[in-house]
Symmetry: C2
Subunit: 612 residues, 2 copies
């Protein structure tokens, strides 16, 4: 069964010998530095069978290795069995990352090359990864061979570049027209002394042009590149002619009327060479963090005579600071999402307590059904994590369609999910006691909730960064010598990626302050292998409070609307303020949702939200 992978690795080795490459690196990314790649770019999976979200492959003549982190060790061992690919562990103390591993190549051995040639897929391999690789080698002789679509000669039946319908969002939904956004960007370019910017990041392009698509799972983006100049914009997007879907035709027409020229996905290459439609550019701004190596090379050696200025894109911060219309839309999204969640939770409790045989998969399907009834629903914002008992302790558990665990009337069930709506994006995690729970389950549940509430209730001075708030969500766990290994919060887009920057709430030193208008998740957890997992997640909107003699103050408004179960809380762990905050929240959930819930669900929710 795994012979397929052995064969593929051998065919790569044949190609390496033919072309004189000593090593090949294949990454899990796409040409746009996306969080999830479309099927076309799942090169690591095609070569090795490994399906984890983070994993890079290195192949030499006598070694094939997969580098991944703690989250995927178990999965990697199982999926790589029989392929000959060895697991290299990252995020452990003795970790040797790829650049260090390759740069330790024994140049001194007689058989070793005196000049190491490392081939990469130049489209997907990032400019910054290339720099890290070069830095690790220092003076040792090495060359990175950038090959666009390196696997093309071997991968038959490879999925094409996705081309789903393109829709445009009106100003009444997004609050700022593309003209206004482009004008902001052009002012930025003038300040930087540039007359163009080249964008690769799909959510930056989607935000800027007020377009959405479905080219990447869960991320409503359109596969494309964008060159914005001071008086125009070239959008390189693959939509095969003839265009058969009305929506895309309308969108392209609208964009064209706004001065955005629609070009073919690969036209950037001709344009940058100087033989295409672009010229007269002096200085192009690019963000190396989202730039593929091949593209970066074409930009540096462009045939337009333009110089390059590297710097961080201003768009992530603009995108993170939601405008008033986006801020008004998000509560609608959370209201609709909350109604779906409460109907799901009502169904779940009834099913489990009445002895119906439902599985993790059934639950996940029913939740999709509830969200699917919402007008404006455009799919989920992430893969639904639906896990019962010990499965919930596996950080990247994927609920199998067949044979997933049966939900029994005891212990904890964890569901992490979210929806994409035309008027916002949601992300919510609830941990549900399905029946009697152990004392440890109860204490973990209570302490994680205490941490969640401490962050949700936080008031903090302007200028505070997420890493300075992270401890608030952890103290309740730390004091009992418990912890969790993931971040506490990530930025959330507006009908865009459910994970976005530049802010986050985690232990890493990200200096970006949390600012008014940012939406960030609050999701502490705890995971006990073989026992259970707990996570509580709401989305928080940062608001400005009244200033006083001590400065300017910020706080959070909880956007998510879905009650927290209070039945297994251990008394005495939450303090008075936390208990009040929880009761007020549950009461707000009831008052906001109950008028639109069926009467049996509303009556059930009344009982669920009585104060503790």
């Amino acid at each position: 069964m795994s012979n397929r992978y052995v064969e593929r690795i051998e065919s790569i080795r044949d190609m390496m010998r033919e072309r004189g490459w000593d090593a090949v690196i294949l990454t899990g990314g796409d040409p746009h530095a996306s969080e999830y790649p479309a099927a076309r770019w799942k090169q690591v999976e095609w070569v090795s069978g490994f399906t984890g979200e983070a994993g890079d492959l290195v192949i030499t003549q006598d070694h094939a290795g997969l580098w991944t982190d703690t989250r995927y060790f178990i999965q990697a061992v199982s999926q790589l069995a029989g392929t000959g690919v060895q697991l290299h562990k990252l995020r452990i103390p003795e970790a040797v990352p790829i650049p260090e591993w390759l740069s330790a190549w024994p140049f001194t051995e007689a058989s070793a090359p005196d000049w190491l040639r490392i081939a990469v897929d130049g489209l997907c391999f990032g400019t910054q990864s290339a720099r890290q690789l070069e830095a690790a080698f220092g003076d040792r002789p090495m060359e990175i061979v950038s090959v666009p679509d390196l696997l093309a000669p071997l991968w038959t039946g490879r999925p094409p570049v996705p081309a789903t319908p393109v829709l445009t969002l009106g100003d009444e939904l997004v609050g700022e027209s593309r003209e206004q956004k482009l004008s902001r960007l052009r002012k930025f370019l003038l300040r930087e002394g540039c007359d163009a910017i080249f964008l690769s990041a799909l959510d930056e392009i989607a935000w800027l042009l007020n377009v959405r698509g479905a080219d990447v799972d869960y991320n409503p983006v359109v596969l494309s590149y964008l060159m914005v100049t001071l008086d125009g914009a070239e959008w390189y997007v693959r939509k095969d002619p003839p265009l058969t879907d009305e929506e895309t035709v309308d969108s392209f027409y609208e964009l064209n009327a706004d001065g955005i020229r629609i070009r073919d996905y690969s036209d950037w290459e001709t344009d940058l060479s100087g033989s295409g439609d672009l010229d007269g550019l002096d200085r192009i701004y690019v963000d190396p963090a989202t730039l593929g190596l091949h593209l970066g090379g074409r930009l540096s050696a462009n045939g337009l005579g333009a110089s390059i200025l590297e710097g961080p894109s201003p768009i992530p911060l603009w995108k993170a600071l939601k405008n008033p219309v986006e801020i008004d839309g998000m509560p609608d999204a959370h209201l609709e999402d909350g109604l779906a969640m409460e109907q799901f939770l009502f169904w779940l409790e009834k099913a489990v307590t009445t002895g119906r045989e439902i599985t993790e998969w059934d639950a996940s399907e029913y939740l999709d059904e509830c969200r699917g009834r919402i007008a404006g629903y455009r799919g989920n914002s992430s893969e639904t994590f639906s896990a019962y008992g010990e499965n919930a302790a596996l950080p990247h558990y994927v609920t199998p369609r067949e044979g997933s665990a049966l939900l029994r009337p005891s212990g904890l069930y964890l569901v992490d999910s979210g929806g994409q709506y035309l008027f916002g994006t949601t992300d919510i995690t609830r941990t549900i006691p399905l029946g009697p729970c152990s004392e440890l389950e109860k204490e973990d549940y209570t302490r994680v909730l205490k941490g969640h509430l401490a962050l949700a209730m936080a008031i903090f001075p302007r200028g505070t960064a997420g890493c300075q708030l992270d401890a608030l969500a952890r103290t309740a766990l730390w004091q009992a010598r418990r912890n969790f290994g993931h971040g506490t919060g990530h930025g959330v887009g507006f009908f865009l990626c459910v994970h976005e920057g530049p802010q986050d709430i985690r232990q890493n030193f990200n200096p970006q302050p949390i600012l008014p208008g940012m939406i960030t998740s609050d999701e502490p957890g705890i995971y006990r292998e073989g026992l259970h997992g707990v996570r509580h997640e709401n989305l928080l909107l940062c608001r400005e409070d009244a200033p006083n003699e001590f400065g300017r103050w910020l706080s959070f408004e909880t956007l998510t609307l879905c009650h927290f179960d209070t039945s297994i809380l251990i008394p005495g762990i939450l303090d008075r303020e936390e208990t009040d905050f929880l009761n007020t929240y549950n009461e707000r959930v009831f008052r906001t949702l109950s008028p639109r819930l069926p009467s049996d669900v509303a009556a059930w929710l009344r009982r669920k939200t009585l104060p503790v």
Copy 2:
């Protein structure tokens, strides 16, 4: 009265014209990057009359300016009146620091020099400051003229380089011999490919050689430089011959026997020129953070043929990680210091309640008297901050000897002080209700104490840095939209500087983790102009806890032994754990100290430490 300063500035301008300097920068520092300079290097004070701890002067022909931060604005305005020196404010949003101010020199004006010559005292001006200055100028034409002892021709009656007795500390006090420490340092040099290190920082030298002095106020250090080679060490120290004090003679004899050659304070200059006693060095390690510009120049252009490797000194971290003997000594220091503090507080309460007329100064004097009775006391670790009522809101209030405020039986009195002992260093702040207090005073007192306790009680995973813990001490204030503008905690030396690195607990992103063996202060506060100030400070020793499935755990042991007054706590603000922790602490203070206190003080302390 201020004519003196006008004259001095004019005499500097005369010198500038003679020598062709366009600007002179004078900093408040000494040649060793010390926190406090000895009197000889209080150049800013001599020129301008400004006595604040942070302040730099720039003099040109038509401008004289003092750059200082928010803490000293009021003081600067008052002390600079009549001198013609203008205040330039730092740490405000529109601040223009010296490098930016000077680099904005109008080169385009007809009268402007085409090549700006900026003179600095090359001994005291730091290498890194010079680099910042150069960076600000970029391509604009500028030259830094490094003049050792720039003010020497003008400053008659200038204090000499201090030369107090040198004492050595035995291994039974410090736990690691100088041979062991030198051996650690030499191994470090070998790893770095160096055969020597040049040290300027006085506390690094004192720690390494196990020597102490009294050359700088509050810092028990010896003014000196040190060159450590792989097989020897040259200690450049000013102790005028003939040596008349027995202690110094004994110390020098002991050091010499250990292979440390005693040299004159200025001999480093001849040695580095190659005409002295050093030769055969290939590569000298230096830390630019503590290196004077003149010395840096002499090192770079040394006549020994040695190259220079710049990097951070390893000594601050070694020094911060207290060894078992130091850890054993610190509780003794805190026991003795606690006995002095409790006797002082007993006296204070009695004096105030019986209507004796005592002032802030009297209180400070009496506290010194209590500490002075301790065997092994070597002076204070910082200037005692003794402030009543609204004076306690002034962050750098200096209690005047004459006319300081009378302590009345109402409101809050704040005392921040500490002692240097042969067996440790202390630093403690108590805020004392002298009688009836306002509700605001009570709430501020309670919330600051809640913040202090939250940090003191913290349990946290290994790897956590101070900036990740800082919020714990602030949350109780933030939730009431209150804050304080200083750091929460600083490292503390062992019978050394009361402020040391590399760790701290503050909002700045200092990535240094808090590690077992480090001693750090915990001193949140709140300051209300015109009303009152509150600060509660204990020293915390970081200890390793038992590891578990979630990782390795650290926590704090409170070293300071002196009760917290509970009489004005507002009920309901401290939670159960905080109240328990406070009661346990006060009980420990009583049990530890009472056997050694006079019976009336012990009986009083019993009442003061009853549980709340």
